[in-house]
Each structure stands twice: as structure tokens, then as C-alpha cells.
């Protein structure tokens, strides 16, 4: 009992000594509790027959009813397939592109030219998807878009790119590569800058060509960065990017464009089915977390650094 009071007294002394630091930290703790942990508590909605008037606590439990319903829906499998295919395509094409870009940017001899190139290719990252989507819709329009006007001059019938299902995924992947690859290359360039220059000198003495140096020095030098970013990316495999999909989506391409994020919005917010919308969201979050943990485990197993 006495030791307990002594310990409590010491803790109070410590807090008093550091009171300004704890005071400074208070808004941050409150912020994360309210804006991040409250919504995590909110996932309980998925297990309840949620009613706004009753709130989360007083709505009746329904257990896994929503999940059972979801797994019985054919729509669900369509959406799952769309999210997964698009996620994999974004991974296969979108992930290596910034790495390649960084490798070749690093090979530019003129530093001034390199800087200008970097400035230009970072630009699209700062422009909203609404603007990019607006440009795409208008460039690709069958009636007034430049692409079709040009095809028309070649005698090709207009193509309604955003309505034909086979063009949707390539358009999404290409536009996000165009928008984000430049910005994505920063982190790899920084990693390349950290490679010991002696390794390049040794390779030069051995008579290695530029391509060989890229392959045998630069690439191994940034391997751990690539792995960390790949793990993080795998955790996002089911997140296709709401804003991009949303602006490019229309009733005619819905069959391929409806992904988990837009589906949760449509059933939850537009349809007002809060419990089911939460279920869809929770399912995606859990899949993402599983992918992240698995990827990290595989990295560790291959004797690489994981993310923790």
C-alpha cells in the first residue's frame, strides 16, 4: 500500500515536471481519439441493425448477419473482382514506373536539366483528380473531344472511351501513372543519393557500362526502400482511389468501374444502408491489413527489412 502511494506520488511528480509537454500533446491525443479512434469504434455499426436515432450503443446487435448477406450477393463478387483486378493492374504497372523514372533521372548528366525535369513531372501530383478527370472526359468525348475529332479526320468512327468497358481500366491505370509517377520517384531519388559513391567508382574500374551499373549498384542500393514501399502498397491493394474512380465513373461503365470504395458510398451514403455500407468498408480494411501483414511476413522470411 505504501509503495503504491509512493509510486503514484512519483508519477505525479514526473507529470508535474513535464506538464508543458503533456499539455502540448493533449490536443493531438484528443484529435486522434476523436477523428481516428471514434470511427474505429464506429465499425460496430457493421454488426448492428443501426438506427440513427438510437445511436451505435443502443442499436440492436445482429452479429455477422450483414457479412452473410454480403457474401450471398452477386454484386459483391463483381465489385471484389473489379477492385482486385484494378488494384493488381495498378500494382504491376504503377509500382515499377516511378522506380524506373528515378533510375534514369539519376543518369542525367546535367543537374540543371534534371531539376527542371523533376519540377515538371511533379506538377500533375498537385492537381486534383476532378481537374484531371474533367480534362479526360472532355478530351475523350465522342462528340467534341480532341481524340475523336482527330480519329474522325483519319476516317475512324468516334469511340466513347469512358462508356466502353474495355477502355476503363487501362485509362485509370495510365492516368494514375501519368499523375503520380513523377512524385513517386522522389523517394527513390533520395535513396539513390544515399548510395556510397565508391561503389560506382569500383564498378567503373571494372569497366561496367551504365546499364550494368544501374543493375548491379543502383538497384541493389535502393532495394530496401523498394521493399518497404511495396509492402505499404500491398496494404492498399483494395483502395483504388475514390476520387479518381468517382470522377471517371458513369452509368455505362459501372460494370467495371464499381469498386469497394464507390460501392460503400453508393450503398451507404446514397442508399442510406449504413450497416451494410460499414460492412463493405470494414471488409476492405481487413483485407488491406491482411495483405500488409502477409507482405511484411514474407519480407522478413526472405531476410529483408520489413516495415517493423
Amino acid at each position: 500500500m505504501r509503495t503504491l502511494t509512493v509510486r503514484a506520488g512519483r508519477t505525479l511528480d514526473y507529470i508535474n515536471k513535464k506538464k508543458y509537454l503533456y499539455l502540448l500533446l493533449l490536443p493531438c491525443v484528443v484529435y486522434f481519439a476523436v477523428f481516428n479512434y471514434m470511427p474505429m469504434y464506429g465499425v460496430l455499426i457493421a454488426f448492428k441493425d443501426f438506427n440513427f436515432a438510437k445511436g451505435i450503443l443502443h442499436s440492436p446487435w445482429i452479429g455477422f448477419e450483414n457479412f452473410r448477406y454480403m457474401f450471398g450477393l452477386s454484386d459483391f463478387y463483381q465489385v471484389f473482382w473489379n477492385s482486385l483486378t484494378l488494384g493488381l493492374m495498378q500494382l504491376v504497372f504503377g509500382f515499377p514506373f516511378p522506380i524506373i523514372l528515378a533510375l534514369f533521372l539519376n543518369e542525367m548528366r546535367s543537374l540543371a536539366y534534371q531539376r527542371v525535369t523533376q519540377t515538371v513531372i511533379y506538377l500533375p501530383h498537385f492537381i486534383s483528380w476532378v481537374i484531371i478527370g474533367g480534362i479526360m472526359v472532355n478530351f475523350l468525348s465522342p462528340s467534341w473531344g480532341v481524340v475523336n475529332l482527330f480519329l474522325g479526320k483519319l476516317g475512324i468512327e468516334p469511340i466513347f472511351f469512358l462508356a466502353e468497358t474495355e477502355y476503363f481500366r487501362p485509362l485509370v491505370v495510365l492516368s494514375s501513372m501519368w499523375k503520380e509517377a513523377g512524385w513517386g520517384s522522389i523517394i527513390y531519388l533520395a535513396a539513390i543519393a544515399g548510395i556510397n559513391s565508391e561503389q560506382y567508382e569500383a564498378a567503373s574500374i571494372d569497366g561496367a557500362s551504365r546499364m550494368r551499373k544501374i543493375w548491379h549498384v543502383t538497384l541493389p542500393g535502393i532495394k530496401s526502400t523498394i521493399i518497404v514501399l511495396l509492402i505499404l502498397r500491398l496494404g492498399q491493394i483494395m483502395n483504388n482511389g475514390f476520387e479518381q474512380i468517382f470522377v471517371l465513373q458513369n452509368p455505362m461503365n459501372l460494370e467495371v468501374s464499381e469498386v469497394f470504395e464507390t460501392y460503400a458510398y453508393h450503398v451507404g451514403i446514397i442508399g442510406g444502408r449504413f450497416s451494410f455500407g460499414t460492412t463493405v468498408g470494414l471488409f476492405t480494411s481487413v483485407i488491406g491489413l491482411i495483405f500488409l501483414l502477409l507482405a511484411n511476413r514474407v519480407a522478413k522470411w526472405m531476410k529483408e527489412d520489413g516495415i517493423w
Binding site: L21, N36, G42, L101, I127, I132, I187, Y265
Partner: protein
């Protein structure tokens, strides 16, 4: 030693050519939109690849700036940008300093809980419900508060503050200063480059606000610029019909091009000044949370 082999030369030429092409591809759409926002529509239809108009027409700009909805969009966007950045930077600085103290008790637990939010979140509906229950729905705050502080940026800022040499602080403590004074007099002035970076990042994020506006507002007078843009340019919604119905003899296409430029211009104008703030080191420190 510095003699370049033919293979080297070919490599260089190909490298410069490909990277230059990609740079041009990054700029071209904006240039194109700008060109056709001041070109008569008939010239566009005659030759959509003619980038230099025979005469400049600013009628489309006049028309969009005559629309009250554009001004309310600008007002909302500027408000959520300015207030959002102020809140974001204040929270970042207040939180990063104590979190950079490795010996502070409880710090590791808090940091872990913050990092966890990067990998798991409640999802769309629980966030929507939170905004509703805090009575932020249909207020500008719904576009300011959620996302005002993110784990990723906080960890970056914490790493930056943690790299400031300790002895600077120690001497201030010797002189009897407390932590608040040290934060104000030493940490904040030394963090200016990081602060500038986050001001820019968050300002751009806020300027581009779209997702939270779609989710958390239902009134047109609360719409930020990006929602108005979507209605006009992507959806051909109510605002686009107003444009078509108006008697002005500017084509809807030209108005769309003009409104894209009007909404993008602030970013393009400040963009060249951003470059010097992109701190590679700041980004790299973050990879390992």
C-alpha cells in the same frame, strides 16, 4: 578517363529524349486546355490540334466570373484552405515537439497508436456518422477538421524536430526557460523549412478538397470550387445547363476549358516556388515509422 564510349552516348541521347517526352506529356494537357479556353470554338472544331489561336477570346472567362456560384466556390475553398492550414500547422508543431522527446513517458504508446491509424481506419460510414454526430454536417468544418492532422505528416514533422541538436535546448533550459518557451524561441524558428513544406502540402490538399465535400455537404452554397468544377465539367449538371441556357455566345466547351484553368491557376502560379521546399531527407526519414 572521361572519354565517353559510343554506347554511353546513345544511352544519353535516348535517356534525355525519353525523359523530355515524358515532361512534355506532363505539361501538354494544361497547355492545351489553356489554349482552347481563349480560342473561338469554331477554330477548335476546324482543327483541334491548332494550338495557336488566330485571335484571343476571353468571353468564357467573363462568363464564368459573372456566375455567383463560382464566387461562392472560391470563397469556400479559400476559407477551408486558410483555416485548414492554420489548424494543421498549429497541431503539427504542438504535437511534434513532445513526441520528439524519446525519454518522455507514454510517448511510445501514443506514437504506436498514431502509427496504427496509417494502416487501419473505420471507413466511410463510421466517419460520416462521426461528422453527423459532431454536428459538422453541412458546415465548412466538415472539410477542415477530418484530416487536419495525419499520422504520416506528424511522424515526418516529429523526425524533423527530433533532428534538431539537443544542446541548443539544454542551454535555454539552463537559463530557466520552460518547454513552451523553447518550442516558441528555438524549435519553431529552426523548423521553418519543414513548416513551409507542410503549409504547401496542406494548402494544396485543402484547395483540392473534393471527397469530404461530396460526403459531408448537401447544399450548393457550401460547395468548394472542385464540386462546382465537377458539376460543370464532368457531369454536365445543373451549372452546365445554366451556362448553356445563358444567352452569351460562348460555347460550353470553351467555358469548361476556362473554368479548369480558373480552378488550377492558383496552384500553377505558386508551383514554381514550391520546388525548393521539396525536402528529400524529410521524406526518407519517414519510410521507417
Amino acid at each position: 578517363m572521361n572519354v565517353r564510349s559510343p554506347a554511353d552516348r546513345i544511352f544519353d541521347i535516348a535517356n534525355y529524349a525519353v525523359l523530355t517526352l515524358f515532361s512534355l506529356a506532363c505539361l501538354f494537357p494544361f497547355f492545351y486546355v489553356a489554349a482552347f479556353s481563349v480560342t473561338p470554338y469554331s477554330e477548335y472544331l476546324a482543327n483541334p490540334l491548332k494550338l495557336i489561336p488566330s485571335r484571343l477570346e476571353f468571353g468564357a472567362y467573363q462568363q464564368i466570373f459573372d456566375m455567383p456560384v463560382i464566387w461562392s466556390g472560391y470563397r469556400n475553398t479559400i476559407l477551408i484552405t486558410v483555416i485548414g492550414v492554420a489548424i494543421n500547422i498549429t497541431l503539427l508543431l504542438m504535437s511534434a515537439y513532445p513526441l520528439s522527446k524519446t525519454d518522455l513517458k507514454g510517448r511510445n504508446v501514443i506514437l504506436m497508436l498514431i502509427t496504427f491509424t496509417m494502416f487501419f481506419n473505420g471507413g466511410l460510414i463510421p466517419n460520416f456518422y462521426l461528422v453527423k454526430s459532431l454536428h459538422l454536417y453541412n458546415t465548412l468544418w466538415s472539410m477542415i477538421l477530418p484530416g487536419a492532422l495525419t499520422a504520416y505528416n506528424l511522424i515526418l514533422m516529429k523526425n524533423f524536430v527530433g533532428a534538431i541538436p539537443r544542446d541548443l535546448e539544454e542551454s535555454a533550459f539552463m537559463d530557466g526557460a520552460n518547454e513552451l518557451k523553447v518550442l516558441w524561441r528555438i524549435i519553431i524558428p529552426l523548423s521553418k523549412p519543414a513548416i513551409a513544406t507542410f503549409v504547401i502540402f496542406h494548402a494544396v490538399t485543402q484547395w483540392n478538397t473534393f471527397f469530404s465535400a461530396i460526403l459531408y455537404t448537401s447544399k450548393r452554397d457550401l460547395w468548394p470550387l472542385m464540386l462546382i468544377l465537377r458539376d460543370l465539367v464532368v457531369e454536365d449538371g445543373g451549372i452546365a445547363r445554366d451556362v448553356m441556357d445563358s444567352a452569351a455566345n460562348v460555347s460550353t466547351f470553351t467555358v469548361k476549358m476556362a473554368v479548369i484553368i480558373a480552378a488550377t491557376l492558383p496552384i500553377i502560379v505558386v508551383y514554381p516556388f514550391l520546388q525548393r521546399f521539396f525536402m528529400k531527407g524529410l521524406l526518407v526519414g519517414s519510410i521507417k515509422g
